[in-house]
């Protein structure tokens, strides 16, 4: 079997390629060996699958954690004139500790600690779960503060109106405060989602084969970094642009009641 190299490839290339300037021939060769040779585009697709699974999983986990912490913290802070119940004080302190630790350490370090100290996943599936949990816990800390600012931006009169009708605290939050808060925090939440998507590029350190890791795998075969890495950047950029569009459509729909 002949070795796959530029010289061999150009000899068998179509006529129009051979008549191009050399730098262009080189570019086409690199694109060929990055995407087409040995069906390497499948590496990108497989990697994107992992990237999306981890992003969506971490997003859901992050929103659940964030919402929970934000409600606990807001409920605790609402006791301005008297002491809150002991259980609430304890949970609130745990939440604060969590926020301090997560916001005080780098994402990369958190992945290393989870991947090699705490969870130590053995199978592929366990590694994906480990990635989702680590990113979800990280994102939750930021979502919590975003949601908390959203909840605090709603006039206290809304809570009072809800409570005076007979809704309990949770019902008031759910039917009255959260729908209004979501509208206010959607831009910040969208931003967090985009950050999360880009942060998934770090999961390669726990051997998760996301799109970044797969690109590195291709480079380890082609010994050419230029086209794979630029392509990777474009892939992330396109996804983020699409997400931004989607968010602005969603935002416009939610603004329906503002006139």
């Amino acid at each position: 079997m002949t070795v796959f190299s530029f010289t061999n490839w150009i000899a068998n290339a179509p006529q129009w390629v051979q008549s191009c300037p050399e730098w262009f021939q080189n570019l086409i060769f690199q694109l060929y060996q990055t995407f087409i040779y040995q069906d390497r585009w499948k590496f990108f697709i497989d990697g994107l699958k992992i990237t999306f699974i981890v992003t969506i999983g971490a997003l859901i986990l992050g929103v659940i954690i964030g919402l929970f912490i934000a409600i606990i913290r807001t409920a605790h802070d609402n006791y301005t004139n008297k002491k809150p119940p002991l259980i609430l004080t304890i949970i609130n302190s745990i939440c604060k500790l969590y926020l301090t630790i997560i916001r005080g350490t780098p994402m990369m370090v958190q992945l290393l600690v989870m991947g090699f100290v705490i969870m130590v996943p053995k199978t592929d599936f366990a590694t994906v779960i480990c990635g989702i949990i680590t990113l979800g816990i990280n994102s939750g800390a930021y979502v919590a503060e975003i949601v908390r600012s959203g909840l605090m931006s709603i006039n206290i009169g809304q809570t009072e109106a809800g409570r005076s009708l007979g809704f309990n605290y949770v019902q008031t939050m759910w039917h009255i405060i959260i729908p209004q808060a979501v509208k206010n925090i959607l831009p910040a939440l969208g931003n967090e989602m985009i950050t999360l998507l880009k942060d998934t590029s770090l999961v390669s350190v726990i051997a998760l084969r996301d799109v970044t890791k797969q690109t590195q795998n291709i480079i380890s075969k082609t010994y050419q970094a230029y086209v794979p890495y630029i392509s990777l950047a474009i892939i992330y950029l396109v996804i983020v642009i699409l997400l931004t569009r989607l968010l602005s459509i969603f935002e416009r729909r939610l603004r329906k009641s503002d006139h």
Binding site: N81, Q158, E160, S164, L165, G166, F167, Q180, K183, S257
Partner: protein, 246 residues
């Protein structure tokens, strides 16, 4: 319309905000069907007193009985009792993300388990009474202040309350809109609803009240019929207050 049946009984109500003593031991009663108007200078504690009645402010000391049940007892489920105590706020506090109809029907549907059709029929009937049936599908931001407050009143009425609490219902309104809101409250008084109203509208107080309470420095300084309070005030603080506002 006042009956002999006590609906709300307040015993030695004390409320502190931090180190500041706002209410210093208030004793009072509201009978079923009675219209009580609470007046007083700014910072006298009249709004705090009203807000204590449905525990929006939790009393520091003392007891409040509603239908003979001690609602200040931590074991009492206040949410159930609040369903029977409608409240109208100075700032309207309509839910801006819901239409007028949704504002009015959400509580009856979620809390009283009323069907959507029944709740909407009832809401429309009440909206018609206050002349806003055509605004049912509008959002609060599309309404004037007076319209918002009328909606806030009928939103509370949708829960079939036994008492209505009004916290300065006309203070945030442009002068030309005060009349339409007071009109609705007067109609409500005429229908026999029990009401506690905090207001600065002395003419209205005189017209609608069965009893007027003057709160000063956190205590009830004087109370009586509108004729006694406005015609023949005894307490010097009340005389001074009335000379400023009338």
């Amino acid at each position: 319309m006042t009956t002999n049946e006590t609906l709300i009984k307040v015993e030695n109500l004390v409320k502190n905000f931090g180190n500041i003593e706002v209410l210093k031991g208030i004793n009072s009663e509201i009978k079923r069907g009675e219209v009580v108007v609470i007046i007083g200078a700014s910072g006298s504690g009249k709004s705090t007193f009203l807000r204590c009645l449905n525990l929006l402010e939790h009393p520091t000391d003392g007891s409040i009985f509603f239908n003979d049940i001690n609602i200040t007892d931590p074991k009492t489920n206040i949410n159930l009792h609040r369903q029977k105590m409608g409240m109208v706020f100075q700032q309207f506090n309509l839910f801006p993300h819901m239409t007028i109809l949704k504002n009015m029907t959400i509580a009856p549907i979620k809390l009283l388990k009323m069907s959507k059709e029944d709740a909407e029929a009832k809401a429309m009937e009440l909206l018609t009474k206050v002349g806003l049936a055509d605004r049912a599908s509008a959002y609060p931001s599309q309404l004037s202040g007076g319209q918002k407050q009328r909606v806030a009143i009928v939103r509370a009425l949708c829960m079939d309350p036994e008492v209505m609490l009004f916290d300065e219902p006309t203070s945030a309104l442009d002068p030309e809109m005060v009349g339409e809101v007071l009109g609705v409250i007067k109609d409500l008084a005429a229908s026999g609803m029990t009401m506690a109203i905090v207001t600065h509208e002395m003419g209205f107080a005189r017209e609608v009240a069965d009893r007027v309470i003057f709160i000063d420095e956190g205590v009830i300084a004087e109370e009586g019929t509108p004729e006694e309070i406005f015609g023949n005030p005894k307490c010097p603080r009340l005389q001074e207050f009335l000379s400023k506002v009338l």
